[in-house]
């Protein structure tokens, strides 16, 4: 599978979330969204990756962005995991039909879980950044922060 590349419109979706309601990508129109596809709840690398992103949530919010985590786990597993680690951003359950959203972004693996993939989607719903990390490697958040800063600079330049 080939991940969707920058410049492509981000496929919309509506998925059950740990926020007790379904979440659609479309509701974030007008501000950037960071989509973090992760292979599995309760796995050490996923925990460390999302723990790292959680630490810079204030910086992401300051840049006007929202963070959404997505995996093929069922919502109960995601809820238990989010409660254990106090994740303060939504986790979305791409459980049924299994991996449908991951497939539409080109990041569903043969083994049935998603790649460890990051997408940044701009306020117009266009993909501006995509990175697929080796499965066992935490990608970190440095590039995402840089891309969000570039988007903010664009918005500011456009406003003048």
């Amino acid at each position: 599978m080939t991940p969707l590349s920058p410049g492509t419109p981000a496929p919309d979706f509506t998925l059950p979330s740990t926020m007790d309601r379904p979440i659609s990508l479309a509701e974030y129109r007008g501000r950037p969204v960071v989509l973090a596809f992760f292979p599995a709840t309760w796995s050490p690398v996923c925990e460390e990756e999302l723990a790292l992103f959680q630490e810079v949530l204030p910086e992401l919010h300051e840049l006007g962005a929202e963070l959404l985590g997505i995996s093929v786990d069922n919502i109960w597993s995601q809820l238990a995991w989010a409660n254990q680690y106090h994740f303060q951003f939504p986790l979305l359950s791409d459980f049924h039909p299994r991996g449908q959203v991951a497939r539409s972004y080109g990041v569903l693996r043969e083994d049935g879980v998603t790649e460890r993939a990051l997408f940044v989607i701009d306020g117009e719903g266009k993909i501006r950044y995509c990175y697929v990390s080796p499965l066992r490697e935490n990608p970190g958040a440095d590039r995402v922060l840089e891309v969000l800063e570039d988007l903010r600079a664009e918005r500011e330049a456009g406003a003048h």
Binding site: L52, E55, V56, E59, Y85, G140, A141, D142
Partner: protein, 194 residues
């Protein structure tokens, strides 16, 4: 990518000569088991280096999985403000399983510091901004977990094993670990808040 974005300054917790040929910056979390292994290893490498290595410690507490890490980092800052950063660093890693606030105060007392004052400093978040500053600089530099190490500004992605690290330091220094040279160890005296 994955280059240290925040240069080392005299505000950093550092051991070794400021003009050492190699600067190693470690971003770490006192509650992280891998950091517990790395801490003493880096201390030995610094001592063995005979003046070749400036060792810098910066905070990267990942609180989601490590609920005591932020408090421990602030306790280390408090100790540092009283000239005992590395002593507290060593104590925290040695007692990683007991980092609740009462134990932190006990470690402060063991170092001859005021445990109650330290507790208050931690509970009021007196050093939170300093810890967060380190954390954000680490994430922006491409830290991807704990510990993350930068050798002369480049992220080190090799094995977390002493001889591999020694090799990487030797390569960066352009010379092998050899005879001892005079080292002028120093730590930063006071944090910006004081």
């Amino acid at each position: 990518m994955a280059d240290l974005t925040e240069p080392v300054t005299t505000d950093d917790w550092a051991l070794g000569p400021p003009d050492a040929p190699v600067t190693l910056v470690e971003y770490a979390d006192f509650e992280c088991p891998y950091c517990r292994q790395m801490g003493p290893m880096l201390r030995r490498l610094q001592e063995r280096g005979g003046g070749r290595l400036l060792l810098v410690y910066r905070h990267l507490p990942l609180s989601a999985g490590h609920p005591h890490a932020m408090n421990a980092a602030m306790a280390a800052e408090y100790a540092g403000a009283h000239g005992k950063f590395w002593e507290m660093h060593d104590l925290l890693f040695a007692h990683q399983e007991a980092l609740d606030i009462d134990h932190l105060a006990e470690y402060a007392r063991q170092l001859g510091l005021d445990g109650e004052e330290m507790k208050q400093a931690v509970e009021t978040g007196r050093f939170r901004a300093a810890v967060r500053h380190d954390l954000v600089s680490g994430v922006r530099s491409g830290a991807n977990g704990t510990p993350t190490i930068f050798i002369n500004g480049d992220r080190y992605d090799g094995p977390r094993v002493e001889h591999n690290l020694a090799d990487a330091i030797e390569r960066a220094a352009g010379q092998p670990y050899g005879e001892e040279v005079e080292t002028t160890g120093y730590t930063r005296s006071l944090p910006p808040e004081s």
